[in-house]
């Protein structure tokens, strides 16, 4: 890894360690996907998928463009109904459980052009009763200097960092991340890796779809294959 990200890694890791100690642990959460089939606009994408993950696990979804990674994440978030099969979080169907236990980062960053990162994070933090302070989340993603700039004047990568900080303040055990690192630079990826590992230490669970090497320690990969027609 490049020296800049290396130094960022060591710089943030001290703070992350202290945060992991101060933030309360999540109650154990499990994800059980059984024989899942998904379709998008009547095109079958995923069939017969089985997947289990528990607190402390990170699952990285890999696969070619159009194989259904985003569709799977949206199904895990409970907004897309599966064609067949079941999705459970700790024995509760995803449709009802997801809105209590999931934080979702899609292709878009869910930022409003006239809102600053600080305003946006303060809103999500209040909405989620987050134990993580907004300033701490900003620091973790290296956004302190940009905190009061309207997000329409942020770069793509800076917006992504803000969205990841939002995921962190949402205080949910399950993180569903769609291409979290795509616009990030080396430092950004190192910081992402940091917040993910401290989230896992709290007993969190992460499912991420990616085309990039994320270098997350202890991450499992799940290869998605093209659905046989």
């Amino acid at each position: 890894m490049r020296p800049v990200s290396q130094s960022a890694l060591t710089r943030t890791s001290g703070r992350v360690k202290s945060r992991a100690m101060t933030l309360p642990e999540f109650s154990p959460t499990s994800l059980n996907v059984t024989d899942l089939s998904l379709e998008r606009g009547n095109i079958p994408l995923i069939s017969g998928l089985n997947l289990t993950a528990n607190s402390g696990d990170a699952v990285v979804l890999l696969g070619r463009n159009g194989v259904g990674k985003t569709t799977l994440l949206r199904a895990l978030a409970g907004v897309l109904r599966p064609r067949a099969g079941s999705l459970f979080y700790s024995d509760v169907p995803a449709e009802t459980a997801a809105s209590k236990c999931c934080a979702f980062l899609g292709h878009e960053d869910a930022l409003k052009p006239d809102e600053t990162p600080r305003q946006s994070l303060a809103f999500w933090s209040r909405l989620s009763n987050s134990p993580l302070a907004v300033d701490e989340a900003l620091d973790e993603m290296g956004l302190r200097a940009l905190a009061d700039r309207p997000s329409r004047r942020l770069s793509q990568g800076q917006k992504r960092r803000t969205a990841l900080a939002r995921i962190a303040v949402q205080n949910r055990p399950v993180w569903l991340l769609d291409e979290p690192a795509a616009p990030l630079d080396g430092d950004g990826r190192a910081r992402l890796s940091n917040i993910v590992s401290s989230h896992l230490k709290r007993g969190g669970l992460v499912v991420a779809a990616t085309h990039q090497a994320l270098d997350w320690p202890n991450a499992r990969t799940q290869e998605l294959a093209r659905c046989a027609l």
Binding site: V79, F104, H107, E108, D114, E115, F123, L127
Partner: protein, 221 residues
């Protein structure tokens, strides 16, 4: 409590991003200024047409900003995060729609009162008309929001909004305009019309959040 958090955020966004009440108020005033030129300037004509024109102009002013109500939330991913906020979608929708009404539509009854006087209505009638406008606007914005939720992300969304919201707005238009048309403050029929406007508005506010939520969930799939 969390619904209030969303309400306050949406008010802030309506002011910072949407310019607050400027656009609907300007649109309302423009229609009210141009209408007499089309109807004819005879005082008797204006007096008779005034309440109807003012209510109709208010409907147009509510509709003109409608298309943007949910489009941004659908395209920028906010809708998904709201859907996973743990609040029922109907509560999120109600908070957002009420915030829009409070932030952008509050000048309409005031302008409506001024316009009523300018069209030659007695002050009492103009005041009743303004009251019935204030009562009708929450109902109108919820109707508009339903149409906006159904059309968000669809091509030619504006067409859907006009086709859905305009027919549903008929009872509110009838009651609100009648309140300004008959008699002054003491008139029982005028008061009844104001109360009927309130009742219709409350009914719409009670049922429409669920319909809006269903439409928005359909958008997510």
């Amino acid at each position: 409590m969390r619904a209030v958090t969303i309400f306050l955020r949406e008010i802030r966004l309506a002011f910072s991003g949407g310019g607050g009440p400027a656009a609907p108020a300007a649109f309302f005033i423009a229609v009210l200024t141009v209408a007499p030129l089309a109807i004819g300037q005879m005082p008797a004509t204006l007096l008779a047409a005034g309440p109807g024109v003012i209510c109709f102009a208010a409907l147009l002013a509510v509709l003109q900003g409608a298309e943007r109500l949910f489009v941004d939330d659908v395209s920028d991913g906010t809708l998904e995060t709201y859907a996973l906020s743990g609040l029922p979608m109907s509560v999120v929708a109600a908070a957002k729609v009420l915030a829009t009404a409070f932030a952008t539509l509050w000048p309409l009854p005031l302008v409506g009162f001024g316009a009523g006087v300018a069209y030659g209505l007695p002050t009492g009638s103009a005041a009743l008309l303004a009251m019935s406008l204030a009562a009708a606007i929450p109902g109108l914005i919820f109707l508009t929001a339903l149409a906006a939720a159904l059309s968000a992300g669809a091509k030619r969304g504006g067409l859907v909004i006009a086709l859905i919201a305009a027919p549903l707005a008929i009872p509110l238009m009838v009651f609100a305009a009648s309140a300004g048309r008959v008699g002054g403050i003491g008139d029982a029929s005028a008061q009844a019309n104001v109360l009927l406007t309130c009742a219709t508005s409350l009914f719409l506010m009670a049922i429409l959040p669920f319909a809006i939520a269903a439409a928005l969930k359909g958008r997510l799939e």
